[in-house]
């Protein structure tokens, strides 16, 4: 039955969660500071906050999401865990790489509205052989 065995089975103070929580907040604030409070170049800001993002994702997987939990009592759980991680990786890669590709290919890159007009034209010239103009 639901919660039959687990109800009070946690035991002890949830240090792991607390540390994970605090570290997540610290990393977020730090990223915010790097972006707003420093005058590094855009590239560096991006590199650093991406680094923090990966760190934080790893942290959350470790601290909250039981990624290391290894309940080998059934074969099923292990397989589910692996399948889960693989599928998550697949979806994440599709979202990120897919979006970048879709948003930068063809006419879509004109979305950078604030870019100077000339640069836009250049891009345009290089690409439009294969494309329709009707959609503009």
């Amino acid at each position: 039955m639901a919660n039959k065995t687990e109800v009070n089975g946690h035991g002890g103070f949830p240090w792991k969660h607390l540390v994970g929580f605090v570290l997540s907040i610290v990393l977020t604030l730090f990223a915010l500071w790097v972006a707003l409070g420093t005058d590094l170049s855009l590239t560096w800001i991006l590199i650093i906050i991406f680094g923090f993002a990966f760190l934080q994702a790893a942290l959350q997987l470790l601290m909250f999401m039981h990624v290391t939990e290894n309940s080998t009592n059934t074969k099923l759980t292990g397989r589910v865990q692996v399948g889960n991680i693989l599928f998550a990786a697949f979806v994440a890669i599709v979202i990120v790489i897919g979006s970048v590709w879709v948003m930068t290919a063809g006419h879509a890159k004109h979305d950078k509205h604030d870019k100077p007009k000339t640069e836009n034209r250049e891009n345009h010239g290089g690409e439009h052989d294969s494309e329709e103009h009707g959609s503009h």
């Binding site: 639901a2 897919g98 879709v102 063809g106 006419h107 979305d111 294969s130 494309e131």
Partner: protein
Amino acid sequence: MKWDEFFVTGDPLIYGADVSIVLTMAGILFYMTRYKKWKWLWTEWLTTVDHKKLGIMYIVSAVLMLFRGGVDALLMRTQLAVPEAKFLDSQHYNEIFTTHGTIMIIFMAMPFLIGIINVVVPLQIGARDVAYPYLNAVSFWTFFIGAMLFNISFVIGGSPSAGWTSYMPLASNELSPGPGQNYYLWGLQIAGIGTLLTGINFLVTILKMRAPGMTLFRMPMFTWSSLVTMVIIIFAFPILTVALALMSFDRLFGSHFFTLQGEGMDMLWANLFWLWGHPEVYIVILPAFGIFSEIISTFSKKTLFGYKAMIWSMLLIAGYSFLVWVHHFFTMGSGAAVNSVFSITTMAIGIPTGVKIFNWLFTMYRGKIQFTTPMLWSLGFIVNFVVGGVTGVMLAMAAADYQYHNTYFLVSHFHYVLIAGTVFGCFAGLIYWYPKMFGYKLNERIGKWVFWLFTIGFNVCFMPQYFLGLDGMPRRVYTYSEESGWGPLNMLSTIGGFMMGIAFLVLVYNMYYSFRFAKRETTGDAWGGRTLEWSTPAAMPPFYNFAKIPEVTGLDHFWRQKQEGKVEKLTAKDIKKIHMPNNSGVPFIMGSFFFVLGFGFVFDWMWMAIIGLIGVIGTLIYRSFEYDDGYYVSVEEVIETEKISK
């Protein structure tokens, strides 16, 4: 903000709605007080954590939303019936197609299916409740509150009008000022929490709470389809959550994720929306596939043909569904390479779906088919869904899509899959499991009327739209000229729409009629079922579902037991005390705070949003310190319940 800006004013239709809302409220208040039903409402429903009751509440809400969305639809069809009609103005029409689309998908289709999943899946896997019953109640209340928040928009503050897709920059502050678009953002955000929690809850339930002996490959097909759906929910909904949050930031706090200024990328919204949106269409179709599988197998008196092929094709769909999103905006101009790739993936995803159609046909082949109403809906599904599928493949060809895109061809296509797939599935499932929920069947004779009226009306309504689309009639237009020549087919379409409306009313009448007159079921096996939900001795399972958890030996376990004459009879010594979760009012209260929070954000009243937020966090903290271990149902009580119900 002045009061006359707060309430929507100036339109007789809206005043009519105001009056009917007030009257309905007064009626309910009067009835509840007069017959002293408040306590009953609170203890039996508002605080329940029983998956069957939550399921019923989901379904009731979904039927109400079907009504609301249906009224929207008929208003639109009325306006379009003749050229240059003056019934709705353009702004009002925009608002109505936006609320219609959003309500039908988010607040009708999904909750209807989730409701059926709630009622049926724990029973099918031989469990006494879901893995997290309390969380299940939180899911329901966040969904319900999200839906209510979205629905009040048309009398308070004004409705969103940027389409259910809410493309930027149309949905930005500049082009959609006022609270309307915020309702969309917060209604969906709050309801989305509930959906995500449902995803996690049922994933764990199906993986962890199956009766002994029920291996994954012995699970009924509806349970399988639910499992795959939950996986898609878990991976797709976070995308929506993030996208909605970013747009909310743009609107409330002046950030530039999707805006035209400040190097925002307006098209990124469309990209993210459909990254969620395409998996979403599988979320609303896979459970329906599961329902049809159960029904077709039951009424053909045969095991499902190609059980494993069905499962693998669903798993394939789950993966593929994340690889096709660009087909919703081929015309955005991402170039030939992008369009070709997504054109091919889209056509490929049709293959596993095709496999399933053949599986259903082969299940029926040489079966002794009984033409009950659930079976009729399933047969109607196969025929009509194929029309939707074939036109889908036409739309998948990127080059051709430049012609079909944004026309009534598309409108007709997605109604053929959403209505003939999802809505037929919801109706079929509702009728099929109605005796499990209420202890009697819906009247079959009236049911057949509903089926034929609805199916014929559906085709009369949407078949002409394919031709209107090919003839160039664009989607989302509030009127068209006489010279266009679109008048006659539009009139036909409207007639069909009203036939569906009538069919819906007859369905509701059938609920009333059957409540009054239907013969009450005396066993738990109303249709000669195959799966565990039919094995309970009582028509409506008691709150603990199974007095003794069944031991499963294979697919269609209950059916084989019946064939071999080995259905177990319970004896007093089988009974042990049963552990059950306590009811709780906290999810309802948390939901109410979510409403305060959402309403505050909608009107940009931060003090109110903060109060709501504090309330939500407060209920979370309260729950964390609540040591509620549930309770035990005594052996005596179980014996008594089982005897009464025998």
